[in-house]
């Protein structure tokens, strides 16, 4: 699929190159990354005991006119151990045109819905690239056609999503993996990857409130992991989902709510709600301190956030090099010893370089908790990026 898209895209680009005089703008990121695992207990003998390294590149080309935007963003990572983490993707290959109150986009792109920080319940258009980012923030490019109408009474978006992409999952050769090998995916739909999914969204800003209502009908991006004697089969069921995201701004407070009703193999309700409070200029300095607290509920007992509280602090130095530190703690309220913690710090070096440190710790004494699989996977990750 990716290769077909790329060939089609290359033809398109060649045509548009000759048709218009606007130059392409080039930019991107190149990165070296090293992960260090504290516990010497990988799930397989092939997996690294302590060190897992990788290199990544993500070039971006863009062409801007008065009424259109063409984007090509490629991505590739080579990992020292995990063959699943050695992967490439077309993050973007899209053409967007706009006129009056309307927008039309065709191609591969990423769409984000939602307002909360600790998890993204309503955000279902793109598949998660979970080998790339452990926290689920990284997404695979999704083929789509999108129509947008921005009206007085709100913004209306419609998507047709041809082609389904499977979630990337770490192999047993790498860390943060499942204890058993991954088997070929299975699908509820006989069309497997070649489904045609639909999505729509209404969003509006009413004074201090941003509200969103969304509907999705298609293949569930979240696989049901079915354990077999010889491994784990990701099973992709069909689903429909109704979602809402609401955010209110009151002084230095942002109040947030995301809630979904999802009808898939199971039918359930889930939500995340909380606040973000920002203290500007703490301790008589120019630094800002943000406080985040979010509570998550999920009707499924086996879910990551079935009854969990996330608290976090974000310190922005507001200096020349953009230093930032974020600390977050997610506590399972049903089980005192089940929690995860993360520390993120980053800063710029000169005009083109940026470093980032991510550290994660996991604990669980409940063998049925998803976190139980990660309890011996505490790690620290150092990344150095060059932006061009």
């Amino acid at each position: 699929m990716k290769l077909t898209a790329l060939c089609g895209g290359a033809t398109l680009l060649a045509l548009s190159q000759s048709a218009h005089a606007e130059p392409w703008q080039h930019s991107g990121e190149a990165q070296v990354q090293q992960r260090g695992f504290f516990q010497k207990k990988p799930h397989s003998e092939n997996a690294p005991k302590h060190w897992q390294g990788s290199v990544m590149i993500e070039p971006l080309w863009q062409k801007v006119t008065d009424s259109s935007l063409t984007s090509v963003k490629l991505f590739g990572r080579v990992d020292s151990h995990d063959k699943e983490r050695t992967h490439w993707d077309i993050r973007e290959l899209s053409y967007l045109t706009y006129w009056d109150d309307y927008e039309f986009k065709i191609g591969i792109d990423k769409v984000f819905w939602g307002v909360t920080e600790s998890q993204h319940l309503v955000d279902v258009i793109n598949q998660t690239d979970s080998v790339e980012g452990f926290d689920g923030e990284d997404k695979l490019g999704q083929p789509m056609a999108q129509f947008k109408a921005v009206k007085e009474i709100g913004t209306f978006d419609f998507w047709i999503l041809p082609y389904f992409r499977e979630r990337t999952l770490p192999s047993t050769e790498g860390r943060l993996a499942f204890p058993l090998p991954l088997l070929d995916a299975q699908f509820e739909s006989s069309k497997e990857h070649n489904t045609l999914d639909l999505a729509m969204r209404y969003s509006h800003t009413l004074e201090d409130w941003d509200i969103g209502l969304s509907y999705f009908d298609g293949t569930n991006r979240e696989p049901y992991l079915q354990q077999r004697p010889n491994g784990i089969t990701p099973f992709y069921a069909q689903m429909w989902q109704l979602g809402t995201d609401i955010q209110g701004v009151f002084g230095d407070w942002l109040l947030k709510l995301e809630a979904i009703h999802r009808d898939s193999l199971e039918t359930y309700f889930a939500m995340t709600t909380g606040f973000e409070y920002t203290q500007v200029g703490i301790f008589d300095t120019v630094m800002d301190l943000g406080w985040i607290a979010e509570y998550s509920f999920d009707e499924r007992d086996s879910a990551f956030n079935q009854n969990d509280l996330f608290v976090g602090w974000r310190l922005a130095f507001n200096d020349m090099d953009g230093y930032e530190i974020l600390f977050g703690l997610s506590q399972d309220l049903d089980s005192q010893h089940t929690f995860s913690a993360k520390l993120e710090a980053s800063g710029r070096v000169g005009e083109n370089w940026k470093w980032q440190v991510d550290a994660w710790a996991f604990a669980s004494d409940q063998s049925n908790s998803p976190l139980f699989l990660l309890k011996d996977e505490d790690f620290i990750e150092l990344s150095l990026s060059y932006y061009f």
Binding site: Q25, S27, E29, Q62, V64, L69, L96, Y98, D100, D101, E103, D109, K110, V111, F112, V115, E137, K148, V150, T155, S203, T205, D210, Q247, V249, F250, G251, D252, W253, L254, E276, Y277, T278, V280, G281, V286, D288, N318, D319, M320, D321, G322, R348, E351, N352, K354, S385, Y387, F388
Partner: protein
């Protein structure tokens, strides 16, 4: 006898207070009148597109350069709308900031993060925070509106050989980072040549110098170099306009969340 003296003293004190109250009123009247002239002289530009560089300098003299573009839309009877796009530093390239400023209530602000394709709402009551690590606070860059301050005319004087009015303006918003600003307005075009910002302890915090005034559309005066010096930290920021075009045909729908997502 004592009683009489006391009464006389009281009476004369009251009279003095009244006189000074009248003169304060008169100065407030003149202050507001000058502020109105300032606002009036900078109206009718409709919309603009600017390319800027922002040089940050720390106390040790190290510098860092940022490139940005700002699209602005003039809004009558409320604050202006602005869309800022960052071109450098490279790691924030494509980040865009949408601001709907308001005369009295807090501005509505959104930030677009291109890597996440996410629009984040910003809680903006407290506008005293720095803009992009610079010495400019968000409120320094918000549009000038009469409702945001009370004014007091101080004196007519000269600044670097130019005839100026010195006006003191006190922010109405209790969440402003300043107790007052002293503004030197050029007599020739009513635009500021220099501003002093006083912090919440009423100590001088920053001085802004506005240089290189040029006339656009036959009536609009804009400075192309703004130098903000923080006298307490010795840090400085120079904001230079390298290109500025008015009446480019921007509309209200170029300043909403949809246009923020496609801003490049």
């Amino acid at each position: 006898m004592k009683m009489v003296i006391k009464r006389t003293l009281t009476a004369s004190f009251v009279t003095l207070s009244l006189i000074s109250a009248f003169s304060v009123l008169a100065d407030q009247g003149k202050g507001l009148e000058l502020a109105k002239l300032r606002k009036q002289a900078d109206s009718g530009w409709q919309d603009s597109q600017a390319t800027l560089t922002m040089e940050l300098k720390n106390a040790a003299g190290d510098t860092s350069l940022r490139k940005l573009r700002i699209k602005s839309l003039e809004v009558n009877n409320d604050g202006d709308k602005g869309l800022t796009i960052f071109d450098t530093p490279r790691d924030v390239k494509g980040t865009a900031f949408l601001n709907h400023s308001h005369a009295v209530k807090p501005d509505d602000q959104w930030l677009y993060l291109p890597a996440l394709k996410r629009v984040k709402r910003i809680a903006s009551r407290n506008k005293s925070g720095p803009f992009m690590g610079s010495e400019f606070a968000y409120e320094d860059l918000s549009s000038f509106e009469l409702e945001k301050y009370t004014f007091n005319f101080i004196e007519e004087t000269t600044l670097d050989g130019q005839s100026v009015y010195l006006v003191e303006q006190v922010p109405v918003d209790r969440y402003s980072g300043y107790t007052k600003q002293r503004v030197w307005l050029a007599k020739s075009h009513y635009q500021p040549l220099k501003v002093e910002f006083y912090d919440r302890k009423n100590a001088l915090l920053k001085t802004l110098e506005l240089k290189g005034y040029q006339k656009y559309l036959d009536k609009i005066w804009r400075a192309n170099t703004l130098v903000m010096n923080n006298v307490q930290t010795q840090k400085a920021t120079t904001l230079t306009t390298t290109k500025l075009v008015f009446k480019t045909g921007l509309q209200v729908n170029d300043f909403n969340k949809a246009s923020l997502k496609r801003a490049r």
